[in-house]
Each structure stands twice: as structure tokens, then as C-alpha cells.
């Protein structure tokens, strides 16, 4: 909160405008590439302002490329189920830890916090989930590993419960012989709606954007791919073709591969829902970052 003269404030505004543009322009390039026709693309490359507008890529996507609708459906289903489970688990653990006089509170906090300091890494995790929990090649592979509960969200939730739910109300409820679970549902949850939506938001974003579970655990069932996995495998396929000389067989495959515009169109579709609802949740999002960053 530096006190400044006008000059410095103008400088700050100019720099921030430039930075904000840097954050937005790549998306505009992506969107404009997806609505440029193929011939112009080949001639001019990806450009910020499309010379000839054309929505053929999207037309092709929804008419001929059936995989996209299924992948989209998978993403939506996985995000909804995963976020619901995540919020339930986070609420129950956060509420438990918010009880200051809970026997064993120190140990439970440590049990949770330690997972942020130390992890077994990808290989043992892969072995446990695929060899022992047998989630591979099923929808559970997209929901279970890594994303179902995180210590970070629990700490956010706990902090909110302890600081924003007045102790007096809880004590008054106890006088009226309200049970602990009753207090959770009748007092703490209604008073913590902003933080619950923030946690839900973080979790939904993590599920929506996840592709790592897909490439590790879905090795045979490509039909379960989410939109992110489809994007990922398309990038690699084109790369693969580029790296190899064109013989008859791969030339035949080439005709099936979505062309440049279509790939960009899929990328746009994958991100549009997030950008569309972002203005509505940006307050909750910033709040979550602030609380987590300062107190976490």
C-alpha cells in the first residue's frame, strides 16, 4: 500500500494492462485459429484475426467425430461425481479438526499435514492403485487416484470452520441438546457456504483439467477418455505422423486425423465451460487462494 504520486500509478496501470493482455491473447489466438478455414491457415498460419471466418471445424466435430461427445460426457460425469465425493470427505475431516478439544487432534492434524510434506511419488502410487486397488481401465481410474481428498482443502475448510462459525452459536446449540452432527448440518455448513463453494471449485477444476490419471491408468479402455485425454492423444498422434515418413498405411490414417482447425476447436471446447463460468466464481476463487496462501 505504497503512497505514491500519480506517475507511478499510471506506470502500474500500464504494466498491469500489458500483463493482463498477455494472459488473454493466447486464448484469442486459439479461438481464432479454430474458426479460420483450412486454406487460410495453411497460407498465413495461426493469426489473431481470422481472415476468412468459417465454422467447418465445429461442424465436423459435432457431426462426424462421435468420440468428442462421449469424451465430453465422461469429463462432466467424472467432475460431478469426483467433486461431490471430495467435498463430502473434505467437510467431514475439516469439521473433525475444527473441534479444538478433540482427543487425538494433534495426531490427526499431523497425519494430514504429513501428506503435504512427503509423498511416495508416482511409481508406488501407480502400483497401489493399479495392482492392489484394481482401478485400471475403469471409471474409478479417473476418480480415485490423487484427486478425491487433499490436505490443502481440508486445512482451508478447518480454518474457515474455526474462524467463521461463532463459538457462542455452537454452545447455544449444545444447550439445546443438539448433537455434533446436528451442529454440522444446521449451523456450520449453512455458515460456511462460501468456503464450501471454494473447495468445490478447486476440486471441480482439478477433475476437469486432469489428464494424468487417464494416461497412467487407462491403457486399454480409450473409450473412457475424458476431453483432456482426447486432446493429449491428438497432439501426440499428429506428432507421431510428423516424425515418420509417409508410407501408404500412415497416409491412410492421416485422412482420419482431425486437421489443424479441428484440433484447435476441440481445445476451445474443452476450455469454454471454465471461461464461461469463471466470472461467476472468480470472487470465491481469489478468496480461496488468499486464505490458503496466507494461512496455509
Amino acid at each position: 500500500m505504497v503512497c505514491t504520486k500519480k506517475g507511478f500509478r499510471i506506470f502500474a496501470n500500464v504494466v498491469m494492462i500489458v500483463l493482463a493482455l498477455c494472459c488473454v491473447l493466447p486464448f484469442i489466438l486459439l479461438i481464432s485459429s479454430s474458426v479460420t478455414d483450412e486454406a487460410t491457415l495453411m497460407k498465413n498460419g495461426y493469426a489473431f484475426i481470422p481472415e476468412v471466418l468459417n465454422f467447418k471445424a465445429y461442424q465436423y466435430l459435432f457431426q462426424s467425430f462421435g468420440g468428442i461427445v462421449r469424451a465430453y460426457g465422461m469429463t462432466v460425469i467424472v467432475t460431478m461425481i469426483g467433486t461431490t465425493i471430495n467435498v463430502c470427505l473434505t467437510l467431514s475431516m475439516g469439521y473433525l479438526l475444527s473441534k479444538q478439544d478433540l482427543p487425538g487432534r494433534g495426531f490427526i492434524s499431523f497425519f494430514l499435514f504429513f501428506t503435504m510434506l512427503f509423498s511416495g511419488g508416482m511409481v508406488p502410487s501407480y502400483i497401489i492403485w493399479s495392482q492392489y486397488m484394481h482401478v485400471g481401465d475403469s471409471i474409478f481410474a479417473l476418480i480415485c487416484p490423487n484427486l478425491m481428498l487433499g490436505a490443502y482443502n481440508v486445512i482451508l475448510m478447518r480454518t474457515y470452520f474455526t474462524t467463521n462459525v461463532p463459538q457462542e452459536i455452537l454452545e447455544a446449540a449444545e444447550m439445546d441438546s443438539c448433537s455434533e452432527i446436528g451442529k454440522l448440518f444446521h449451523i456450520s455448513i449453512p455458515l460456511s457456504k462460501p468456503m464450501i463453494s471454494t473447495v468445490a471449485l478447486f476440486s471441480a477444476l482439478a477433475y476437469w483439467n486432469d489428464w494424468i490419471n487417464g494416461i497412467y491408468y487407462l491403457t486399454r479402455r480409450k473409450d473412457l477418455y475424458t476431453i483432456q485425454n482426447v486432446l493429449n492423444s491428438m497432439m501426440n498422434n499428429v506428432q507421431f505422423l510428423k516424425d515418420n515418413t509417409l508410407d501408404a498405411a500412415s497416409a491412410q490414417m492421416m485422412s482420419q486425423i482431425p486437421t489443424q482447425g479441428v484440433r484447435m476447436a476441440i481445445a476451445v471446447i474443452s476450455v469454454v465451460p471454465i471461461l464461461m463460468i469463471y466470472p461467476f466464481f472468480q470472487k470465491a476463487f481469489i478468496k480461496g487462494i488468499v486464505i490458503g496462501g496466507v494461512k496455509g
Binding site: M1, V2, C3, R9, A12, V15, M16, A20, C23, V24, P26, F27, L29, L30, S33, L41, N44, G45, Y46, F48, L89, T90, S92, M93, Y95, L96, D101, T115, S119, G120, G121, V123, P124, S125, I127, Q131, Y132, C144, V154, E180, I181, L184, L205, N209, W211, I212, Y216, T219, Q228, M235, Q239, V271, I274, Y278, Q282, F285, I289, V290, G293, V294
Partner: protein, 318 residues
């Protein structure tokens, strides 16, 4: 310690503990699924780290696979990638941490001097957009700029200047710079909002007093803002140091599009683990690499925290 022992011996408090246990029993029961999940997802893999000293076979499982001492490690260090991936992981992390912190604080200070509420809100909203999208999508955004044939850099910038197009996805030399820019682009918004939130919490009286004494903008920043930010910087740095041996798999796998020509500057421990485990099916090497990553990261965090606690107890993380 002595005090707690006495308290526990007191029969009345013990009775109270039992009473509280009973009172909170439904909450414990309700949290059991969460505990089970943490055990499966976080604690069992920690135990699985012993596999680094075993010859893992998928048929025999974790317990019954035979020990093979340090063979996985000698095998790992027998390949040229061991040195490359450790060098890359550490160097990238140091650069990201240094530039990221400086840049984030710079942006946070700029945000804090902007008076117009609407402008401030808009900037915050916009600079967080890169934080919302997946690394796959970032890979596509970068591709739109760097694609050799169609990319904006080659067609929109280099061609009008008469410079020959560059094959970005083949020449490894450019990638340390490209990856640093991409990482800064997508993380600065998030980080600067954390610092910004700290800065707006500072007492305005410090600055007012400084201005009365004729302090310049730069003096206010260097004498007031930065010293007050120190605890936050230390905490965030400790957290980042804990990830010194970790790398964002997406950044190093998706953004260079896993191009083989770029491996010398884009291989980090995480991409190496993925390639050896999923593509080469060489479990031993990936286990050894993962083991070193986990253990070294943990050691670094403990050491930094211990040092910070010695120097400045208030700032330590735990």
C-alpha cells in the same frame, strides 16, 4: 511434558476425555472414509518406496518381490539420463523460484498501488486465467505460437522481419527459455495474489509516516514493504524448496509435446519416471528415480525449516 502427564493421571480429566470421545464419536466415524483414502492414496505409496531396493515383479507384488540391494540405483546411474534429469529438475526449479518470486512481488506491489477498485478487480481476474486451464491446453496454446509451419511466431513475427522460420520443436537450445516463460506466465497471477493479499494487510500508518519523512516510492518499497513481506516469502520459499526435486509433469511433458529431439533440455525426474515406467516398462529405474525424488525433497524441506527456525523462529513453517 511433565504437566500433561499430571493432567492425564488426574481421574477427573481422564473421565472428561472419555466423555469427549463419546461426544465426538459420530464425527470420528464420519471421517473414517477420509482416513482410509489417505492411507491408500498417500501412506501405502510411502511404504511402497521400499520397492526401490527390490526387483519388482507385477506377478509377485510388493511384499514377495525379491530384494536386490542397490541394483536399481546403479542401473539408474548407468544411463546418461540420470545426470541430465537431476540437473534439469534442480536448475529449472531454482530459476522458477527466483524469477517467479521476484516477478510475483513486483506485480503484487503494482496491484496494491492501483486505486481504482474496478481496474484492480479486473486485473486480478484476468491474470488468474492461465491458472484455470490444464497443461494439455497450455501445450496447445504454446503450439499455436511455436508450430513450425503455422505458428504465430514464425508466420506473424519472424516472416515479416525476414528471419527464417525456426523449428522450435526440434532445437533443444531454446527450451529452457520457453519453459521458463510458460511457467512464469501461468503461475505469476496466482503467486502475486498471495503476496498482494499480504501487502494490503500492512498498516497504512508506516507508509504515511515514511511519506511525511520524504521517502520516495522505492524507499517505501525497499524499507517497508519488502521487510514486512519477509515471513511470507520465507514460508512460500520453504514450500517451494520442498518441491525442489519435483517438477510439473504437464509442463515438461505437454508443452514440449514429448518431442524426442528436446529430451536433453526437457527431461525432468517426472517425465523420466513416466517414460521408463509406462513406455519402456522399466520399473526398477523409475522406482529408483522416484525414491530419490521423494527422499531428497523431504530432506531439503526438513533442513530448510530447521535453518529458518534457528535464524528466525517466527517464520518457520512448523
Amino acid at each position: 511434558m511433565q504437566k500433561t502427564k499430571n493432567v492425564q493421571k488426574n481421574p477427573r480429566t481422564r473421565k472428561q476425555t472419555v466423555k469427549r470421545l463419546r461426544k465426538y464419536m459420530p464425527l470420528y466415524l464420519m471421517s473414517i472414509p477420509g482416513f482410509i483414502y489417505l492411507i491408500i492414496n498417500n501412506y501405502l505409496p510411502m511404504g511402497g518406496l521400499i520397492l526401490a531396493f527390490k526387483k519388482y515383479s507385477f506377478a509377485k507384488g510388493i511384499i514377495d518381490s525379491p530384494w536386490n540391494g542397490f541394483q536399481n540405483f546403479t542401473f539408474l546411474f548407468g544411463s546418461k539420463w540420470a545426470k541430465i534429469m537431476f540437473r534439469n529438475t534442480i536448475c529449472y526449479n531454482i530459476v522458477f523460484l527466483l524469477l517467479g518470486t521476484i516477478f510475483a512481488i513486483f506485480v503484487a506491489i503494482l496491484l496494491s498501488v492501483i486505486g481504482n477498485k474496478f481496474a484492480k478487480q479486473t486485473y486480478q481476474t484476468l491474470i488468474l486465467i492461465p491458472h484455470l486451464v490444464s497443461t494439455v491446453l497450455i501445450g496447445y496454446l504454446v503450439f499455436a505460437f511455436l508450430s513450425e509451419k503455422n505458428g504465430f511466431i514464425n508466420n506473424g513475427i519472424l516472416a515479416p522481419l525476414g528471419i527464417k522460420p525456426v523449428s522450435w520443436y526440434i532445437e533443444a537450445g531454446y527450451w529452457p527459455v520457453i519453459l521458463t516463460i510458460v511457467q512464469l506466465w501461468r503461475s505469476f497471477g496466482f503467486q502475486s495474489i498471495v503476496y498482494f493479499a499480504t501487502i494490503i494487510g500492512f498498516d497504512k500508518a508506516y507508509y504515511e509516516a515514511a511519506v511525511m519523512d520524504g521517502a520516495s516510492v522505492w524507499q517505501q518499497i525497499s524499507r517497508i514493504t519488502l521487510p514486512l513481506l519477509k515471513p511470507t516469502i520465507i514460508i512460500l520459499t520453504i514450500m517451494a524448496l520442498g518441491r525442489m526435486f519435483a517438477s510439473d509433469f504437464g509442463l515438461f511433458y505437454q508443452v514440449p509435446q514429448n518431442s524426442g529431439m528436446l529430451y536433453s533440455t526437457t527431461t525432468t525426474i517426472d517425465t523420466f519416471v513416466y517414460r521408463t515406467l509406462m513406455l519402456d516398462h522399466d520399473v526398477g529405474r523409475s522406482l529408483a528415480a522416484g525414491f530419490l525424488q521423494s527422499i531428497l525433497g523431504f530432506i531439503v524441506v526438513m533442513i530448510t525449516n530447521a535453518i529458518v527456525r534457528k535464524v528466525d523462529n517466527e517464520s518457520a513453517l512448523f
